[in-house]
Symmetry: C2
Subunit: 362 residues, 2 copies
């Protein structure tokens, strides 16, 4: 799928709970944005998630998967619901299936302090937080999903798998990302692998393969850091980091930690990117406590959509997509800089109001 | 080993780097404290760690291990050194061997904001942080230590093991700890298991066993939380949590995160406790960058020693040990409350000065 036209088809999966609400807000911003840039953005609405599972017995049926797979990009709200579970008790999370089935090894989770949004930290340098957790998303501990064993109700085992092939691809991705960021930000890029190589064979292996790959990217600095020290340093000096590739489970933890620093999950977009496909979705869940009330913060969804436009541009759909991405991100920043405050940060602006205020700046 | 006298023998392992410095500071405080309370505290100095490995080829020889095992308690500084590694590249960490060989399943890592020590968070409620990460320390992902496999330089595997027996003991420990804390703090205790039961068989099993055990402790509230959400909430509202039992790797990460909130590793004590033995040590490492300069903050070591005295009292050595523990903790608190500031929090008080200021209040 090399894109070459100004018309793309996006598989849209609103999902459950606030997933559907932030999706509507996002469409309300994307449509005028596309018009303004002369872009053809078609949406193919697909049903998947916990409610789909409850009603049909399938969280994402094969026909739906195929339509998503054949689209140019996949944009997802949020999926899952308390009390609706697979028979083995695990969560309805077809987004995990998409990551595995489409080979979306690069979980890109930017952590950036938006202008005007208070961070959790006392240090004023926190306003400069601008890093990316790069969560490997097809193996690591998650390779055990659906495969763990329980022996005699006495002992359970889950095996973490780290491969050379995926570590190489993830490392290349990290260095390429750091290089692009460096060009934008006008400073040298730095990639810091987060591992636990002092204790585990798999992480010592990951570190070795990472540094072998780093040799191909001499223009970007390569470093490594232990996961425990990184959890500490993300609290003490997050402004010092740039691109942080890491194992799947570690990335899940660090990306939530990072979101906590910059105002919470409502400000944390994400992209799961592979060599041929990509899924874009906010990092947050379906938030049953506020679902249906119009209070959900759609910022993470808007920023995820901006990542999608950027990715489409990079893949050959043309410069207008990159321009639209930059404009969307700038509009979100400007809205918060001028005082927009959502309920999750102590304000009153609901889902629709955020969409309106952002759309107004386009 | 049920204690019944006022004389105990402590195996003392200063270890490497600042480990030896904070150990000296600790002795300088413990000796007058013991005298004042009429306690017989004998130290058996033992050599173990990275330097021992470099000089003798063994990080902790069998004779040393046996003397430590036969002591009433083990007090440890810090061990490990960059560049000194086992042949497979992993870190010299005999403290991990002690945890496994002595069955020290309960890694108690208190995270408490000391009066006067600035926290990393902007919210003033952070001054109330007072929680305990209870890191399981004999299995989990660490069961793979020394056992991971690499297949054809292509793929590495490490297996996480969670057993019913250890989860039950850890859960009992958590509820007992919460009950004691509740009595001291005059409020109901709450134990929150941190897991990833929505994805992994092992964690679903752990959660099941935890709630079965909780049924025996109805006076304490039992809850569970996902590890990713906990990483977020430790940044957003750490003052809401009490006792947090979790898997070994997760506990390693969360305890460093927690230390970051309350001023850094210099303020994070720890105890590794089993049914018959216990090791007490600060959570920090050997800090090669400041080793030998007299700048290390010995607070975590002093608070670890206070945990040791408390544990000795609880195990039957008598009330005077508990009193000495409380006095040591109060002296540390008072010294910081009245303005003591170590270099790690922007002050100038070195290792010896902290010891002197704390000892002065005894
Ligand atoms: C819903 C859950 C299974 C998922 C994950 O752990 O990957 C989520 O936490 C995420 O970060 O995307
Ligand atoms: C030194 C290291 C192997 C150790 C661990 O991971 O257990 C340390 O980080 C700790 O927390 O005690």
């Amino acid at each position: 799928m090399a894109l070459s036209s100004n018309t793309v088809r996006v598989a849209l999966m609103p999902g459950d709970g606030i997933g559907t609400e932030v999706t509507e807000a996002c469409i309300a911003v994307l449509e005028p944005l596309a018009r303004r840039h002369g872009l053809g953005l078609g949406f193919d609405r697909l049903r998947a998630g916990a409610m789909a599972y409850r009603d049909t017995g399938s969280a994402m049926d094969e026909a739906t998967f195929e339509r998503a797979r054949d689209a140019d990009a996949i944009l997802l709200g949020a999926m899952g619901w308390p009390g609706i579970r697979y028979p083995d008790g695990t969560e309805i999370a077809p987004q995990l299936d998409l990551r595995f089935r489409l080979g979306l090894y690069a979980g890109v989770r930017p952590i950036r302090a938006l202008p005007g949004v208070p961070t959790a930290l006392a240090d004023p340098r926190a306003a400069e937080i601008d890093l990316v957790i790069l969560r490997e998303s097809t193996e690591g501990l998650f390779a055990a999903r659906g495969r763990g064993e329980i022996i005699d109700d006495r002992e359970a085992r889950d095996t973490m798998v780290i491969t050379r092939a995926t570590t190489e691809r993830l490392s290349d991705f990290a260095f390429n990302l750091a290089r692009r960021r460096a060009a934008r930000r006008g400073r040298k890029g730095r990639v810091t692998l987060v591992d636990k190589a002092n204790v585990f064979t798999g992480f010592a292996f990951m570190r070795k393969v990472f540094h072998e790959t780093a040799a191909k990217h001499a223009d970007v600095e390569a470093a490594h850091h232990y996961i425990d020290a990184m959890a500490l340093d993300l609290v003490r000096r997050p402004w010092d980091f740039d691109v942080l590739p890491t194992e799947n489970m570690f990335g899940d933890i660090l990306s939530d930690l990072g979101a906590g620093l910059i105002g919470g999950m409502g400000f944390a977009p994400s992209a799961d990117i592979g060599d041929t496909h990509a899924v874009f979705q906010p990092s947050h869940g379906t938030a049953p406590d506020i679902a249906g009330k119009g209070l959900a913060n759609p910022t993470a969804m808007l920023l995820s959509a901006a990542m999608m436009l950027d990715w489409l541009g990079e893949r050959g759909a043309g410069q207008s997509w990159a321009d639209a991405s930059a404009e969307l991100e700038a509009a979100v920043d400007a809205a918060f800089a001028e005082g927009l405050r959502t309920p999750d940060i102590g304000g009153t602006a609901g889902t629709a109001e955020v969409a309106r205020r952002v759309a107004d700046r386009i």
